[in-house]
């Protein structure tokens, strides 16, 4: 007799996973970061506390902390090795980061939220 845990695990569906970008969590006291393209990765937006602060309008009232989520999307097909090279290049440019989160599509559907 399978347990409910076994039953739940058996429902898992296989989905095709495609690497499409990286969310970088950058710590800086110098305000909204600016990036050139790094290898095949292009910065798409930057958010602070979940609110988009680049590109576009930023309210002067908006509270910003020293921790920015910077979304880099791949402009070509990429592999994990490209992420490693990206992180190395970003660090060499002097950016201090707390975490990196790979962005994957699952069966072509984004597995990550957008920013307001």
């Amino acid at each position: 007799m399978p347990t409910l845990t076994d039953v739940a695990k058996a429902t898992k569906k296989k989905r095709k996973i495609t690497l499409v970008g990286i969310d970088m969590y950058i710590i800086t006291e110098k305000g909204i970061p600016a990036f050139d393209d790094i290898g095949p990765f292009k910065c798409e937006f930057i958010s602070n506390r979940g609110t988009k602060v680049w590109p576009g309008f930023v309210s002067p009232d908006l509270l910003q902390v020293n921790w920015y989520r910077c979304r880099f999307m791949a402009t070509t097909d990429v592999q994990d090795a490209d992420v490693n090279a990206f992180l190395d290049a970003l660090t060499k440019k002097g950016w201090w980061w707390s975490a990196a989160q790979k962005l994957w599509n699952y069966d072509g559907e984004a597995g990550f939220s957008k920013a307001y």
């Binding site: 898992k12 296989k14 989905r15 996973i17 969310d23 958010s47 506390r49 979940g50 609110t51 309008f57 309210s59 002067p60 009232d61 908006l62 509270l63 902390v65 921790w67 989520r69 989160q101 962005l103 994957w104 699952y106 597995g111 990550f112 939220s113 957008k114 920013a115 307001y116």
Partner: protein, 338 residues
């Protein structure tokens, strides 16, 4: 007549326009001098502007710094950003103020409830940072910051002091979420030191829920992170009679938007049968924000009297009056008392 105030009116959609007209009639009859500037928001904007919140509306609110908003609905699954969330983000409306006060004529099991909730409105799990970190694991980042926590606590203590409130409790789950809720609680305690005249303390969120339904009269002011605030403010609204009488305000350093928290009830649109009380009491809150206390008191007393008489009340409270008839009865009651 005293100072003229310029206020942005956002009627919204569904029953919003008819509610806002009724509310405007009552506020205008209260003796306060308000110049209303109407702007579009919500579903009806989509065809005209391609967005739920046009730039023109944003610019008008930025100019006037105070707005009264009717209900709006966010379409599910269309990719359009919620107008409410966008307003909060654009103007950094970090304080969601939700009073829960017992309306005497609405029969409830309690003698007294007068709770002032201060919900942090911009952080927590609402930062919209979510990832599928594997094909079977989803993750949402709970973002709590020191300045975000400090300013909502400071806002709450300032408001409480200005309005003669005696006690503020911080609601949290810092026994489990030691970093995030711990930071929120630390900031609250830091601010509390500056207000020794106000009693302060903290309570774990699950215990707070139980205490609220057992003995709500024990609470005065609550300061809450976003998610607990979302849930407990509706719980408090339920204690005093539901969302139909629940006012709300979203306030930032630059502006304040007053609004009911209920939906736009599109199936009743144009029928003029819905109860405008939640927007009206939000308007009363707005008048107090504008230091028009006498007008606010007049409206509140007249509204309670009309509800007490039950002659001209809407269907949801057992009457047959239309939205306009209820509003007109409040106006007549104000004039009768004058």
């Amino acid at each position: 007549m005293g100072t003229q105030h310029v206020v942005t009116m956002l009627p919204g959609e569904g029953t919003g326009p008819e509610i806002c007209e009724a509310v405007r009639m009552v506020i205008d009859a209260s003796g306060v001098d308000i110049k209303w500037e109407y702007e579009d928001i919500g579903l009806d904007c989509l065809d005209k502007y391609g967005t739920l919140l046009p730039d023109k509306t944003i610019q008008n609110i930025a100019k006037n710094k105070v707005a009264l908003k009717g209900p709006t609905t966010t379409p599910i699954g269309t990719g359009h950003k919620s107008a409410n969330v966008t307003l909060r983000k654009v103007f950094d409306l970090y304080a969601n103020v939700r009073p829960a006060k017992l309306i005497p004529v609405l029969k409830r099991p309690w003698d007294k409830i007068d709770i002032l909730n201060f919900r942090e409105n911009t952080e927590d799990c609402y930062a919209a940072i979510e990832h599928m970190v594997s094909d079977e694991v989803a993750q949402c980042l709970k973002v709590i910051t020191w300045p975000g926590s400090y300013r909502i606590a400071e806002f709450a203590f300032k408001w409480a002091k200005a309005n003669g409130r005696k006690k503020i409790y911080c609601v949290h789950k810092a026994n489990i979420m030691k970093m995030t809720d711990g930071l929120f609680l630390d900031a609250f305690r830091e601010v509390a030191k500056k207000y020794p005249e106000i009693e302060s303390g903290d309570i774990i969120v699950d215990n707070c829920c139980m205490q609220l339904v057992r003995n709500p009269a024990q609470f005065d002011c609550l300061v809450l992170p976003n998610l607990y605030g979302d849930i407990l403010t509706d719980l408090c609204a339920g204690l005093v009679g539901g969302l139909g009488f629940a006012p709300g305000a979203n306030v930032g350093d630059g502006c304040a938007i007053f609004e009911a928290v209920h939906g736009s009830a599109p199936k009743y649109a144009g029928m003029k049968k819905v109860n405008p009380s939640a927007v009206l009491v939000s308007g009363v809150m707005m008048l107090r924000w504008l230091h028009e206390t006498a007008a606010a008191d007049r409206i509140e007393k007249a509204m309670f009297a009309v509800l007490e008489e039950r002659k001209h009340v809407t269907y949801d409270v057992g009457g047959t009056a239309t939205t306009d008839e209820y509003a007109q009865a409040i106006v007549e009651k104000m004039h009768a008392k004058a």
